[in-house]
Amino acid sequence: MKKILILLLFLALPSVSLYAATDAPKGIIKITPRMAPPLSLENMDGNKFTLSTKNRRWAFVHFWASWCGPCRREMPTIQSLIQDMSKDNIDFFIVNTAESEDTIFNFLGAVAPEVNTLLDRDGLTTELWKPRGLPSTYLVDPNGQIQYVVIGGQDWHKPLYQNFLKQLSTAKTQDQEK
């Protein structure tokens, strides 16, 4: 019996180490993993950013619009998050949904001037991701699988959320385990 228990414990260990941050804070929901839709967009300076399935880093993919009240509250906390996690193993893709550069510039200038947003000019990339609403955030693992969705706006500057993301960014993926 004891051997069986030890064996079970041994078998359970790898699944604990994969994506070790299993206790997601409120509002972050673990989903059945699915492949992230393509994301390749330019920022306001014309530089293209592409979500790659080969970069072996986690990605924080966030969709927003200036007309979205919660986005206004949340964006400064995302700015803090990006700054605080600049040395962590995570990429940030902040995507504006279908607004003009003037609107985006005015909005970000007022609430989060350091955020480097990508422009989904026609809104079609956002459509592919099918957010529940705006704002909407996805956490994509290094293999390009969406592992978590985030419901509504969150206080990303809180340690609860940052610690969770730090745990994710240091957890090994199944591919890395092999």
């Binding site: 609107t103 809104g123 079609l124 529940r132 609403g133 419901i151």
Partner: protein, 190 residues
Amino acid sequence: MNSLLLHTKYPSTFLLLICALTISSAQAAPKRHVFKNPEIKMVVIPRTAQQMAAFYEGREFPINAINATRDACFFTIGIHNKSQSILKLNTNNWTFTTATETLSLLSRAHWIQRWKKLNLPQRFQSTFRWTLLPNQLDFQPDEHEGGNITLARINTPFTLTARFAKEMNSNAKPLIITFKNLRCAEDPAP
């Protein structure tokens, strides 16, 4: 802006609509309809044509698209799943009835056709879609979402019967919420 305080629990599209629409037309205050029980809070707010026009003008919509919204009757819906189980929204299970007839929601397909005829640029179509209530959504425990629903303008009062299935037990009775005496909001007289 004070009316915003009533809705700080709606962290999605709903709040933005409340915010923008409240600012754009503080003069008109259509009646707000609220249903609350331990499982759900649902708010229905009629919107005047002026309110909607101001909202979309603020988003730089062309005038022909703004005029198209004037033909429709808009309601902003806010839903908060207060239960610990998933509530399934499917607006196909909602009914809108007057004393003599059943009304239909103006579907997303309807709006797509409308925008195509007007050659509305894709980015405005996208924005418009995001301001609509999703047709289907599994509301997670404590999730708040919202958005607009649209019907053809009508002068008579009607009843909305909203049904939400519960995921925990497929045999469980659906949650049924009724809002009586809803009316399309009219612009204030000039």
